[in-house]
């Protein structure tokens, strides 16, 4: 079915409303919820790009988030403005991805997954001892506070999060329609055939890995502008992996709208389950397993399967037809 142009219009309208939230006096808790949703969404989109479209089960998003957060925090201690620190964090995350690419790409499938999983652990230990600037402990352990962000309002970070989330959606949308996206999907489906068909497997994987690390890094750094205190346990926390992973799998891996649906569910659950403390992740894990067993293609996959998009699309088409008639 041809996608009616009204769909784009509705998306733009939603975006405008979201962008207006901080100025129309929405409760602050909502802004907090939505900000976290944006960060998880950006992470999930990138996780989906790697796992759903490139066949790379990357278990190290928390390495990218933590490194970017630390780059931002340490940067502000030596006088780097946080705006520059934000970009620098993303660049450091991408450079780290470049550094590890050669060893980890030698492994495939589940071995790649395990190989990437140990990296954040190594970084966590490293940052527990390494203290390049400042001699007074700020916060717990080897933590740093991000300085110079006192003037940043919740509205500002909200807009930053929104921009990053929207950028991540567009980025995936564009990549999938280019030569790179075709190569990624080919590698995901069959690495050997892709290679014998002329795809430079290492190079194509590296591109998607670098892009994902950069966006995950910028999302992580944005989080530490919002919550300006980082320590090794929090920065390299496995929740930075579990959130995008659960969002992608629950929403639908390898489906563009999957992470959007999934990130909304995961964010909602995180806040609803917050009173249960450590049980929260456990309950989310159970939900994840249930989804995998009942609808292995994810919620978006299920919606597509039963044709749930057909009705709203038809409505849009009908509305569009009427608008055209009235214009004539």
């Amino acid at each position: 079915m041809k996608i009616p142009r009204l769909t784009t219009l509705v998306s733009v309208a939603v975006l405008v409303v979201l962008a207006l939230f901080p100025v129309i006096g929405i409760p602050l808790t909502w802004l907090n919820y939505l900000f976290l949703f944006f960060i998880y969404l950006a992470l999930a989109n990138m996780w989906n790009l790697l796992a759903g479209y490139s066949g790379l089960i990357c278990l190290c998003p928390h390495a990218f988030v933590g490194l970017a957060g630390y780059t931002l925090a340490i940067g502000t201690w030596v006088g780097v403005p946080f705006q520059v620190g934000l970009i620098a964090g993303a660049v450091v995350a991408a450079l780290f991805a470049l550094l590890i690419s050669y060893p980890v790409f030698r492994m495939r499938g589940i071995y790649f997954a395990i190989g990437t999983l140990i990296l954040p652990e190594v970084l966590r230990v490293w940052f527990s001892f390494w203290r390049p600037v400042g001699n007074i402990y700020q916060g717990m352990g080897a933590g740093y506070s991000v300085t110079g962000v006192a003037g940043v309002t919740l509205g500002d970070t909200y807009w930053l999060g929104l921009a990053i989330a929207v950028a991540s959606i567009f980025l995936v949308h564009i990549i999938l329609r280019t030569r790179l996206g075709l190569g990624l999907k080919a590698i995901r489906d069959n690495e050997n055939t892709a290679a014998s068909g002329g795809v430079n497997v290492f190079q194509v994987k590296l591109y998607s890995f670098l892009i994902a690390a950069f966006i995950m890094g910028i999302a992580g750094a944005a989080y530490y502008i919002y919550s300006p205190r980082i320590n090794p346990v929090g920065g390299f926390s496995i929740r930075w992996l579990l959130m995008p992973l659960m969002a992608t799998v629950i929403g639908g891996e390898g489906i563009e709208e999957g992470p959007i649906i999934g990130a909304a569910i995961v964010t909602f659950l995180t806040f609803q389950l917050a009173p249960y403390g450590a049980w929260s992740l456990f309950i989310q894990g159970v939900i994840l397993i249930a989804v995998v067993l009942v609808v292995p293609q994810g919620i978006a996959g299920f919606l597509r399967q039963v044709g749930a998009y057909r009705f709203p699309l038809k409505l849009f088409q009908a509305a569009e037809g009427k608008i055209h008639k009235n214009l004539k």
């Binding site: 030569r179 075709l182 190569g183 999907k185 080919a186 995901r188 489906d189 069959n190 050997n192 055939t193 892709a194 290679a195 014998s196 068909g197 002329g198 795809v199 430079n200 497997v201 390898g254």
Partner: protein, 236 residues
């Protein structure tokens, strides 16, 4: 002779652990020729194709393609140079449409980088009607044809066909022979690994027979079929 050789394999050896898969293999393929590669199961035919395509690197010996040493080229490099291959067990991009399967090799593998010929290729292998289908949903015979189509989409000089007719019924074999002839008319050089004798005899100019990794005979189909070593390898 040497100047027209598209591919020359020069004393190539490959062993896996203690097993010798290919031993002192030497042969040449001329431009526009269809060379058959024959031998009992486990003779090393597929290994030889993998050595040419760059999947494996020989322990010793050289592989020359159009005079260029490709012994240490990675698979995507050999594809860029003009070698395409099909797999014995079809290896499609399962989640992509039939046409997108071709688009991958056309965009990444073809020197020309254009894709306008894709529909012609799909026509040639009778997949035009299924071009929008997801490759994973195709029947076996269509998957075999898709292998060939995908190889053609990179606009290769040399095509390595690994048992295109295996698994097809007798009724389908004439069609496959016909397609092979069409491919040949396009000016492609072909190396054909085949068990189906009818295809072998009718499609090829020359046959190289392998047994236990070694070349035991070479010649026209008629000559090879009378060769005592060949008869011994096949019938003991």
């Amino acid at each position: 002779m040497l100047e027209t050789a598209v591919l020359s394999v020069d004393r190539v050896n490959k062993r896996f652990g203690g097993i010798v898969a290919v031993k002192d293999m030497t042969f040449e393929v001329q431009a526009g020729e269809v060379l058959g590669l024959m031998g009992p199961n486990g003779a090393g035919k597929t290994t030889l194709l993998n050595l040419i395509a760059g999947v494996y690197r020989p322990d010793s010996g050289r592989v020359l393609f159009q005079g260029k040493d490709i012994t240490r080229c990675a698979p995507h490099k050999t594809c860029h140079l003009g070698i395409a291959r099909t797999y014995q067990i079809p290896q499609p991009f399962t989640h992509l449409s039939v046409r997108d399967n071709l688009l991958v090799t056309a965009t990444y593998g073809s020197k020309k980088g254009d894709t306008f010929e894709l529909d012609e290729i799909l026509d040639l292998v009778d997949l035009s009607k299924q071009k929008g289908m997801i490759a994973g949903d195709l029947a076996t015979i269509s998957l075999k044809k898709l292998e060939l189509a995908r190889a053609l989409a990179s606009d290769p000089t040399l095509i390595l066909l690994d048992e295109v007719a295996a698994g097809s019924t007798d009724a389908e074999i004439p069609r496959i022979l016909d397609i092979t002839k069409q491919v040949r008319k396009m000016g492609k050089t072909i190396i054909l690994v085949e068990h189906v004798m009818k295809v072998m005899v009718e499609a090829v100019d020359r046959i190289v027979v392998m047994d236990k990794g070694e070349k035991i005979a070479e010649g026209t189909p008629g000559e090879v079929m009378k060769d005592e070593k060949v008869l011994a390898a096949y019938f003991g």
